[in-house]
Symmetry: C2
Subunit: 342 residues, 2 copies
DNA sequence: CTGAAAGCGCTAACAA
DNA sequence: TTGTTAGCGCTTTCAG
């Protein structure tokens, strides 16, 4: 037999079924307008030729590709995984797919990857935070591409933002500790040079409660980073009675490290986080933290993007509520300080 | 001025620049073959008309969409997030993008979403495990679509598999405990009815070490689930001296719960996991577990898929090494059992 | 109910 | 160096 040239197309199917291409197209898009018998014949031809519709050809006619892109710093952090989970689920309900790309918190990589997403036909973009290159804005503005920013909130920003108030989150944590009487607090945070959310949280602290001394520790944003911070805290600052972590992963690391050193939490040192990861409430002791509604943020972002893409409605910026979750890891300053028993 | 009808296309740009469409196309794809002056004129026209190339039109000519799809049970589990992180990074180096879809471990949802990914033009697919519907296989076989399965290994499977030996992983954990003298072990695992990897691990245990009694606890695959299991373990089984968790998240939950009950690990109860999450080695006590190379698996999957998509080379199945990581959470059976001090 | 034919936006021969 | 033109695979009028 003759070798099958390439993939079968509409014309091939039409020929095999002895109908016109229009009829084949109808069998796909409006089967009820095709006579039973003809339809059967066409369907059989499709089977036999193993025909599959070409997404590109469809897209070229409809002008739609049915997918949007999300640019996140990393997938290896629970926060973004949960945002994307919410985003994917909700986009699916709008019959949209999700393309993900990671930026390592580098605006230049972000711009490149955004270009890539646009090249393959993304109908809209979601980015994290408010640090973006002019090239990035150039891209989306040229294409008048729907794009929203998450994890932050500013109604005056160039992109519609959907997120929470990072300043308020950090201050809520500080207030909680200060109100309990802590006067010397170690602040543990991730890299601030490339992340505006972290920076916002750090800046929110300075001078907010003048009566307390703040000592900053910058570490990698990971459990391991938290452990490192934990060590630094217990060796360096004898009078420190509480640790404020700008992220729950860090808080977990600090906690494990303090436990390893035999320091009681919250007996000797109080510990508070920001994020409220799914595991935080199950830690021992249960972690006091500031809840950030990341799943809801994903959903909201999906609805906003989908609406924009489908009906050209530019979404309103949206501020999501945060909430202080007081649990077991904080209490009044202990008598003993960060000195291990040893 | 007249309202701009739709988006500008090549013809519009050509007209504005007073050249032919071919020249405009060349400015995009082979600028060096166009005279400096002409090129400038064309580029200006592009700017003015805010022209953007249509991904669909390109795809229809090249026959390529430059993206592949990944179907994972969920994004809210560290394992998949890390796999996808590796996958995305490596795909990017092949200039391929990644579309993600979640299945909730339901093969029917998987088939639907696979259809959706194919509809929008995915050039290849990555799925998790070996439980798939006939519809799914129908889809990929009709389209002769490159598709690989991860998190499992079986050279005879219908799809090329890239993963580790789940049976060996579970047995390595059991052996470690049994070798230390544990004779009654609680096995904690996630839902088994819909997850073949979990099932493989459970089945690997039965009769593997006849001298030990195994008591099974099925809980949701989360920290909270681990906590629930922890409670069950300490109330139900007085003679239990060790807990084997088929997943590190579960082990973390069990650990926190045991700590909450004042039970020493590994003093009174030993604890072992499977996965080796980034945080596991930093827990207190450091968790003994079986390392699963999920990042590498993501990379390998990316290379396999990219190769298949680009050069029609069907990849070889690939078995990745696992490794028992003996850390601080296991030891010989303690004298006291799961009864809290209270 | 079915078919002919005109595009959709772009690329790639082939000519000039 | 540039233009002409024929497609790519499909949808969609508009006529039968």
């Amino acid at each position: 037999m003759k070798a099958q040239r390439k993939r079968a197309n509409l014309r091939d199917v039409a020929a095999a079924a002895q109908v016109s291409v229009a009829t084949v197209s109808r069998v796909m898009n409006a089967p009820e307008t095709v006579a039973e018998k003809t339809r059967a014949r066409v369907e059989q031809a499709m089977q036999e030729l193993r025909w599959l519709p070409s997404a590109a050809a469809r897209a070229i006619n409809s002008g739609r590709t049915r997918f949007v892109g999300a640019l996140v710093p990393t997938l290896e952090h629970d926060i973004f995984a949960r945002v994307l989970a919410g985003l994917e689920r909700q986009l699916a309900s709008h019959r949209l797919s999700l393309v993900v790309a990671t930026t390592d918190d580098d605006p230049r990589i972000e711009a490149e990857k955004a270009q890539g997403l646009i090249d393959i036909g993304a109908e809209g973009l979601m980015v994290s935070g408010m640090t973006h290159t002019p090239e990035f804005f150039g891209l989306i503005e040229r294409g008048q591409l729907p794009a929203i920013a998450i994890s932050c909130f500013d109604p005056d920003y160039r992109l519609p933002t959907i997120g929470y108030d990072n300043t308020a989150a950090a201050r809520a944590a500080l207030d909680h500790l200060a109100d309990q009487g802590h006067r010397r607090i170690a602040v543990v945070h991730g890299p601030s040079n490339l992340n505006d959310r972290t920076r916002a949280r750090i800046e929110a602290l300075a001078g907010h409660r003048p009566e307390v001394d703040l000592v900053y520790h910058e570490v990698p944003l990971s459990i391991a980073g938290g452990c490192a911070a934990g060590q630094a805290v217990r060796t360096a600052a004898a009078r420190t009675s509480a640790v404020l972590c700008l992220s729950d992963v860090l808080a977990s690391g600090v906690l494990f490290e303090l436990q390893r050193a035999g320091i009681a939490v919250p007996g000797q040192i109080s510990l508070i986080g920001v994020d409220d990861l799914p595991g935080s409430e199950h830690l021992y002791p249960e972690l006091t933290t500031v809840h950030l509604p990341v799943s809801r943020m994903g959903l909201a972002a999906a609805d906003a993007l989908a609406g924009w893409v489908e009906t050209q409605t530019v979404p309103q910026p949206r501020l999501l509520e945060i909430e202080l979750m007081v649990r077991a890891s904080t209490g009044p300053p202990g008598r003993l300080n960060g000195q291990p028993a040893a």
